[in-house]
Symmetry: C2
């Protein structure tokens, strides 16, 4: 267990995060310009989430592109813990994963960890978690993944295949190792102690079920990185390649600090939010503006700490030049918070309406994506 702050484990992310420190602690590499230039050869341009540094670190991403160039099957794996409704922060890795799927024509395995969420919840019943799982899957499909290359499953529905692989993984993972990685204690339940094997299993599913050599890349938020250390340790013991990883920062919440958290609903924009929800939440968001209009004009704002600015920067302003201008104009006191908020609100409402439309479409095609026993 790490006693230093900030504490980043897959089950708890709080406070400000020093990403350089985190890379050192996790032993992951920065996404260098050299790697990004290489990616550009395949993709044409760079995705906003790369240009703005949301995806910032990796393991073996270069080797994964090597595999692609050599004609080895490249596979993507990511997932979702269905503990509640999806918010915009959850979409970031999915949007990026779709980009990678399009560029590399990669098969995607998407795991919904209904078992995990049940095992760590204090009150929720399985039925409630399964409802969230179904609901979240519609949001995933709405991202626009290729139905011919995307296999979505929940651990409680597609269990036989996952458990059969998980026991092969688990045999190589001692309690001691799992404890060191996830901070299990004597009072952890035996289901969650086993769960890292269930989460590692999809790293090997393509190789086992399709009986084909494959190189797996896992796009995810950096707090999920510890899981993949176990997969990487076990992979050679099972005769498979170590999965590569590409890691994002956390999207900040609408409050003064921390990431978007579904447990603090006013800090996040849910995909099911109404236009009025968006208006209220953005209006109440933490900005870098001055207390009065006069001071704002005179001293300028502080976009560095402004979540409105961050939302434009990370997601809602595709144009690099415009986002740079916004930064400078705010610093100079030429924009005021109310205008910024209204601009962002409009963009988010437009985005959500389009998402909600695609989500309704997803209901009709969900069976094309689902793996079940």
């Amino acid at each position: 267990m790490h006693n230093e702050m900030p504490k980043v484990t897959p089950w708890e992310v709080r406070g400000e995060v020093d990403y350089d420190e985190l890379m050192k602690e996790f032993g992951v590499e920065p996404l260098t310009n050299e790697l990004l230039e290489r990616l550009k050869k395949f993709s044409g341009g760079l995705h906003l989430l790369l240009r703005r540094g949301v995806f910032f670190a990796h393991r073996d991403f270069g080797e994964w592109m090597d595999s692609y160039e050599r004609g080895i099957r490249v596979v993507l794996y990511t997932g979702r813990g269905p503990s509640g409704n999806t918010h915009i922060g959850h979409l970031i890795p999915w949007i990026f994963t779709k980009y990678l799927q399009d560029v590399f024509k990669a098969i995607l395995y998407f795991q919904v960890t209904d078992d995990e969420k049940f095992l760590i919840s204090t009150g929720a019943e399985i039925d409630e978690i399964r409802r969230y799982a179904y609901d979240n899957i519609l949001d995933v499909i709405a991202i626009g993944f290729d139905p011919n290359r995307t296999k979505i499953f929940t651990n409680l529905d597609y269990t036989k295949e996952i458990y059969n692989i998980a026991v092969r993984v688990a045999k190589h993972v001692t309690f001691s190792t799992a404890k060191a990685t996830f901070g299990f204690t004597e009072s952890s339940n035996i289901g969650i102690i086993f769960f890292p094997a269930m989460q590692a299993a999809p790293c090997f599913i393509h190789q086992i079920i399709e009986n084909e050599d494959a190189h797996v890349l896992i796009p995810c938020a950096v707090d999920q990185e510890p899981y993949w250390r176990i997969s990487r340790d076990v992979a050679p013991k099972l005769g498979f390649r170590k999965p590569a990883g590409i890691y994002s920062k956390f999207i900040p919440g609408l409050g003064a600090g921390g990431k978007m958290s579904a447990s603090l609903p006013e800090t996040c924009i849910f995909l099911s939010d109404s236009p009025n929800d968006v208006r209220r939440k953005i209006w109440n968001a933490f900005t870098g503006g001055q207390p009065t209009l006069k001071e704002q004009r005179e001293k300028g704002g502080n976009p560095e700490v402004c979540v409105i600015y961050w939302y434009f920067y990370y997601i809602f302003e595709e144009d690099d030049k415009k986002v740079q201008e916004l930064y400078e104009e705010c610093r100079r006191g030429n924009v005021i918070c109310g205008d910024c908020k209204r601009g962002l609100t409009d963009k988010i409402i437009k985005f959500l309406m389009e998402h909600q439309r695609r989500r309704r479409e997803a209901e009709g095609i969900i069976d094309k994506f689902l793996l079940k026993d």
Copy 2:
């Protein structure tokens, strides 16, 4: 962990066993005459395995019969770890379970723990264990269970249902509890740590899948008893009755001490043994006879330590009077070991030929019994 000898855990049984001590340690009750008289009301007579004290202890067996009388669904649950070929020792709980099924018209769930055996094996591949599982299931069916009331499954084939129940169990079992019960250590793998939840799951399968109140009784060898303590602890938390249990002694091996063990093949009669195998093994078995015929005639033998006598007593001599006579005649020096061995050999060969015939029949009807995802 218990440091005293004998050490009886589900994964290791060695040396002489003091069953009174064991009952005290496990906190189980003796099968009293009163209980046996009550059982007789339903069954007519008492099974040999009860008359000879092979099944000797229980938890809540009286309450289970109460449930039967009150019209509550009674269910049996037992199983097999498919680590190798079946020997006669393995049959004991199955033969007894069939007797209970016939008497109480009970549904039987039979779990084959291929996952467990893989997780604790040092070398075996999953495919090898699955072959044993299939093979063992044929031996189970050959016992004569009612195909309309018997559901046999392996954890790696009927996974979805079992895992979905197992996570509900696991949520209530801490590592600390599992460690105290099963002796897990820091170097135990996370699969075997979870396994007690997989083994507990069938205690609740009827209630969940058939959505019917049920009282479960688990016939098994007494070394398996610790598993059911976890099931009993968890049952009320899930809203179900605590499973009852009825426990057997170990059938001694053919050597000087210990139970039949598949890892010491000459100590046990496998169900696949040829007549010559049986002749050789019984001929070499440990007896209570004197070194010479003269001494045998003068001093008499010691049936108490004679495994030939035990085999007649526990399984192969149905007639109580005859087994008593054999005991007395041996004490008096009126029988010699060679004759006894030949008599037992004949009985075992006849038994195995009949079993092997029924086993071949089982191949044709296995699908009537199997549950799969």
